[in-house]
Amino acid sequence: MTARTITYRDAVHEALREALRGDERVFLMGEDVGYYGGAYACSKGLIQEFGEERIRDTPLSESGFVGAGIGAALGGMRPIVEIMTVNFSLLALDQIVNNAATLRHMSGGQLSVPLVIRMATGAGRQLAAQHSHSLECWFAHVPGIKVVAPATIKDARGMLSTALADPDPVIIFEHATLYNEQGELPETDDYAMEIESARISRAGGDITLITYGGSLQKTMAAAEDLATDGVDCEVIDLRSLRPIDDATIMASLAKTHRAVIVDEGWRSVGLAAEISARITEQAFFDLDGPVARVCSAEVPIPYPRHLEMAATPQPDKIAAAAREVLRR
């Protein structure tokens, strides 16, 4: 099998293009997805290929066009709605939480909402406190939607088509620092990746580092560092934030007995807290130490580079947390 080197952005672009080509019902809608080419250039050139109907620039009306996406999904379409960043998605929370997530259950199973929402998330580009947050957990909190976080080129390429095939709403979080990342993508006829399980990104026996999205690479770097000390880390990329793949986490804990959770969201009441609770519930007697969390500092993400770095998880903090759990 041959592989080619592409960027995360290109992987998203390819996935969009493939989806638009493969299904007439699919259309892309959002702010500046058309002639601008997407805020992160993921949809560059698509409006020329597919036209204004299917590459639909919207006014700055997050609630309006997300709600329209839900309605269009009810009406038989397969919309992909792009929200420029997670911070802007708060303007559409009503539609996501009160409609997309509820309609199936509240209608007694009559309706389903086959909608895909993509949005950029996370810090790392000095965009300060209204463009840098990681609010994945807000959405992962809500039953009725699925939440995924492609951390790799393969997932960026493969998760979209699976999400589109899903009869329920799926939110895809793309960490904004990943778009320029390059990586190998093996050539295949079918890039589709399933979207409900976690992946072991690195196998090891001493400690489990659990993470997702933009923190995966930092966690892998920490694992490399720890390896030079003879610590053999297992790294889990959650991939799916709702549902959470408990089985993979608990199987790893049964082996390593120790866990550090790395989450760019804030520590209080977040995803890391959720995973820690699940470990306590399901793997208590496997634990050989407290579960540690490496999260973002409890501050709005600041603008200067050094403060932004200090506010978010970094490899050295992850490695230090791991050493503490290992009692070393």
């Binding site: 026996g205 001493d206 003879g230 610590v231 053999d232 007995h257 208590f284 007697f285 496997d286 634990l287 050989d288 130490g289 290992l326 009692r327």
Partner: protein, 398 residues
Amino acid sequence: MSEFRMPSLGADMESGRLVEWLKSPGTEVERGDIIAVVDTQKGAIEIEVFEDGVLEEILAEPGEEIPVGRTLAYIRAPGEPGREQRAAEKPKPESEAESPHTPATAKPTPSATAYPPSIPGIHMTPAARRLAAEHQVDPSTLKAGPDGVIGLSEVQAAIGAAPTPLEARPKPKARGIDPVEMRRAIAAAMMRANREIPHYYVTSTIDMTPMMNWLSARNAERAIEDRLLYAAPLLRAVALSFAKFPDLNGTFEKGAFVPADRVNIGMAIAVRGCGLITPAILDADRHDVDTLMTKLNDLVKRARAGGLRSSELSMGTATLTNLGDRTADGLMPIIFPPQVAIVGCGQISERPWVVKGEVVARQLMEMTFAGDHRASDGRRGAQFLSHLASLLGKPEGL
């Protein structure tokens, strides 16, 4: 006749205060008529009837606080004959309201009782508790790590289990004996002995007077540093006895006794603050008493200072544990696995003893032989003790 009850106007309404009746008894009412006003937490609300008829009887007075569901009045349907007075009905508690849900019974929570409970003051990780339970290790016998925590590694050390690769890696160690490690090793060995070895015990009281007299005479001629302790001839006698009873000298491995081809007697040596260690004096049966005394002295020093050799710790074929002066009269020793025998000696003390029909004061010592019943029987142990006693009775022959 139907009952007109205090209506429920919201799930959060529990009662209402009757403000006024807008119709008086005997008047006709129509479905939809407002017949009363009720004050609620949210303000006054007009209350309607849902049928036609005559307001027959009013059961509540303005100003009364009335729970939801309680009858306020009776309404007689058109054509229905009037009825005599009725006693006011007891209020109907709201909890009787029909509920779609059967009360959920508490689900049994996963039981933690399968594992030993946490011990106050001891920080033991859940995984360590489970492992300890699986290997029947009493958590109170475990020593915590330097950070005060008993983790998997501490339990693994105690049970002698293969540690995880992490713990197997050498760690920088302080010089000398690590009391934690030592306690773990003892715990692990004794746990295994108690778990695996069916012990039997035979006991004799031995007159050590000849021995002590012989030693005193001998030591009196010698410089202090050349003097002997009775431990040395005792060790020689024990070593010679094991040489004579090869079926008690050896190890029990993979379900069978394996006789040893030499006599290496493990000596239980107390290390202050740490516990017992049992390094062996190799080929103890081949050394004379003076040499054994030297070796014993050397062994004790090295045991205390942490300079023992691995062969001394691993090659014992039987063990001698000697309580020594001013301790206790006797003990029931536990075999050091995989060995199959141990001799335990209490203190020597002057006690009454019958010699040729007369009670005399003698230096007596209780000796206990513990044997592994898988390898030998009590009778064999008794023969061993008898032989040992005869050797100790003729110290000059040692």
